[in-house]
Symmetry: C2
Subunit: 343 residues, 2 copies
C-alpha cells in the first residue's frame, strides 16, 4: 500500500506544537506507512522535535509558516489574512498534490472557510458539514452531522448531509445499508421545523438511503440510528450538552475521591468505581472520538478539538488516515451521482 | 396560611390514575394545607382510592370527566374535541375560581393550547413557555426555558422568556439578582442565529435584568447562569440529550450488575458504586426535577413528564404548590410593567 501523506497545522488549537508534535510522533510510530508534513513555526517546532528520540522522525518534514490564525477571528477576516498561516499552508499542500489530507485544531470557522476556498466542495454539495462518529451503547458508532459548520440549513442541505453520512457510515464503520434519521422533537411526521419536515419528505423518495424517520435526543446514545442529521446549530448544542454532562460526572467522581482521602476503605471503593466507570464510559469521552470530518470537500480535512490533548490529536490524525484510505470524498461524489441520476 | 387548591388531570400521561392517584395521596400527606380536585373517570379513580387507607382522603375530591385527550393528537384538533376531557375540565376549575393551579401529565401541545385558550396569557407575553429547574453542579438550579412550547422564537420572545425566568429564579429558588444567559454556539457577540443576537442586544439595554451574555451547552450543568434562555426546539433537544446520557449511564451500571451476579465481591463493589452514584447523580435524574412550568399564563399550570412515576408526579404537584404560594403569574406581570415603563 502506498504511503499516506498528511499535512498538519502544527500551530492550531489551544496548545499548538506542545500537543501536535508529540501527537505526530505517536501517530507515526503507530502507522509505518504514514508521512507527515508539519506546518508551522520551525523555531517552536524544532526544539520539541529535537528533544524526542523517536525513530519515526525521518517520516516527518517541517514546512515553515510564519503566522497563525487566531482562535476567535471571524472566518471572513481569517480568509483575508490567511497568507502564510499554518492552516492555509497546510491546505495548499493538498491542493498542490503534496499531501492527501489535512488535520487542524485551529479556528473551526476559518478552517471551513479556507477549506472551501482552497479545496472546493464536491459537485452537488451546497455546503460542507462538520461530522463526527459518536459512540453508542450497542458498541457501534453513529455518524452525526452537521456539528456547527452551517447554523441554518434548508431541507435540501439536510438531505445532502444524509447522503454524506451514509457513505461515512458504510466506508469508515463498515455498516451495510446504514439507517439514517433526522433529529427532531418528536417522532410523528407533523413534528418539528419546516426544513426538517421537507428533508423527511425528500428522504422518503430516495431508495438508496435507508431512512428511518425522526429520532428524539434522548435516544441518541442507544444505537437507534447509524446516521443522525441535524442543522449545525442544533448539532453543536447536542454534542456540547453530552460533553458537558459527561465532564460533570467525571469531575464529580474526582471530587468525591478528594473528600474521602483519609479513609483507606473509601479509597479502595473509589479506585474500583473509577476503574469500572473508566471501562464503561471511556468510549463516550470526547478524547476518544476527537476528530471531526469537514465532509463534502474534494479532499479530506479533519478538525480536532481546540483543547485536544496528545491522545485526542493523535486520534484525529488516525481518522484522517482512514478517510484517505477509504477514499471518502470520491465515494461521496459517486453516491451523489447515483442519487441524482435516479431522481 | 390559606389552603392551596389544585386541579389535577388524573387521566393524563402514560399511566393515568395508577400513578396520579397514589401521587395525590402522597402530596396530601406531605402538605397539610393542600386540597386536590382529581379530575377524571370516577370508575377508574375510585377503586384505586378505595384501596388506599390514606387519612388525607378528605382533602381530595373527584371531579368527573368522561374523556381523555390522546397523547399524540395535534393541539388544534385536541382543542376542538376538548369538551368533557379531564385536561379541559381541570383548567376550567381554575377559570371558575375553584382551583388555583393545574397539574397534568397529558399531551404537552394540547395542554399549552388549551391553557392559553382557557386561562389566557399575561399582558405583554406573546407566547407562554415551558420551563423547568435544572440542577447544577454547585448545588443550585438553573431555570431553563423554552423547552418545546414554541419551536421558533423571535428576539422579543426570547427577551420575554428572560424576564419570566428571572422572576422564577428569584421567587422559587430565592436567587437575588439572577444571572441570565442565552444558549448559543459560542461566547462572542457575533455568534449564532439572528434571533439570539437580537435578544442579546435588547437584554443589554434592560437594567433590571442581570444579563451575562451567551453560554455554550457544555457549561449548562456547572452553574454559570441562573436562567438559561433558548427557543423551544433547542431547549427540548438539550434537555432530552441530558436525559439520554444520564439514562445510558444508569442502565450501563445496571447491566454491569447483572454480568457480575455470581461474584459476591463484585456484587458488593457494585452496591457501593450504585450507592455513591445515586448520591452523586440523583439530583440530575429527571424524576427529581419533573414538573415543567407553563409560564406566561395568568395562572399556574404544571406539565409533568408523560412517563412520570409516582415520585415524579408528586414532585410536579409540589412544584404547583410553590408556584401558587409565590404568586408567580402576578409577579411576572408586575415585572413586565416595570421593564416596559422604563423603556
Amino acid at each position: 500500500m502506498k504511503n499516506v501523506v498528511l499535512a498538519l497545522d502544527a500551530m492550531g488549537g489551544d496548545f499548538g506544537p506542545v500537543v501536535t508534535v508529540p501527537a505526530s510522533l505517536q501517530a507515526l510510530s503507530l502507522h509505518p506507512k504514514l508521512e507527515l508534513l508539519l506546518v508551522g513555526n520551525p523555531d517552536v517546532i524544532s526544539p520539541i522535535l529535537s528533544a524526542s528520540r523517536s525513530a519515526c522522525i525521518d517520516r516527518l518534514t517541517v514546512i515553515p509558516a510564519k503566522l497563525v490564525i487566531g482562535g476567535d477571528i471571524r472566518p471572513a477576516q481569517a480568509i483575508r489574512v490567511s497568507k502564510d498561516t499554518s492552516m492555509r499552508v497546510a491546505l495548499e499542500l493538498i491542493k498542490s498534490g503534496r499531501a492527501q489530507a489535512c488535520v487542524s485544531a485551529g479556528n473551526t470557522g476559518a478552517l471551513m472557510g479556507l477549506s472551501k476556498l482552497v479545496l472546493k466542495s464536491i459537485n452537488g454539495i451546497e455546503r460542507p458539514a462538520l461530522t463526527t462518529l459518536l459512540p453508542h451503547q450497542k458498541q457501534g458508532k453513529t455518524v452525526i452531522l452537521d456539528l456547527g459548520a452551517n447554523i441554518s440549513c434548508d431541507g435540501a442541505m439536510l438531505v445532502q448531509f444524509a447522503i454524506m453520512g451514509s457513505v461515512l457510515s458504510e466506508q469508515i464503520l463498515g455498516v451495510s445499508n446504514p439507517r439514517v434519521a433526522l433529529l427532531n422533537i418528536g417522532s410523528e411526521e407533523t413534528k418539528g421545523l419546516d426544513n426538517i419536515r421537507h428533508a423527511s419528505e425528500i428522504l422518503h423518495t430516495i431508495s438508496s438511503i435507508h431512512y428511518v424517520g425522526y429520532i428524539e435526543a434522548n435516544d441518541l446514545l442507544i444505537g437507534k440510528t447509524d446516521v443522525l442529521v441535524c442543522d449545525g446549530f442544533v448539532g453543536n448544542i447536542t454534542l456540547k450538552t453530552m460533553e458537558g454532562v459527561i465532564r460533570v460526572i467525571l469531575s464529580t467522581l474526582k471530587s468525591s475521591e478528594k473528600e474521602n482521602k483519609l479513609n483507606w476503605f473509601m479509597q479502595s471503593i473509589n479506585f474500583w468505581i473509577g476503574k469500572c466507570l473508566f471501562n464503561k464510559f471511556s468510549q463516550f469521552h470526547p478524547d476518544w472520538y476527537n476528530g471531526a470530518y469537514l465532509i463534502g470537500l474534494r479532499n479530506t480535512v479533519i478538525k480536532s478539538h481546540g483543547a485536544a490533548n496528545q491522545r485526542a490529536f493523535t486520534a484525529a490524525i488516525v481518522q484522517a488516515i482512514h478517510a484517505v484510505e477509504r477514499k471518502i470524498p470520491e465515494r461521496i461524489s459517486a453516491r451523489l451521482s447515483t442519487v441524482l441520476s435516479k431522481k
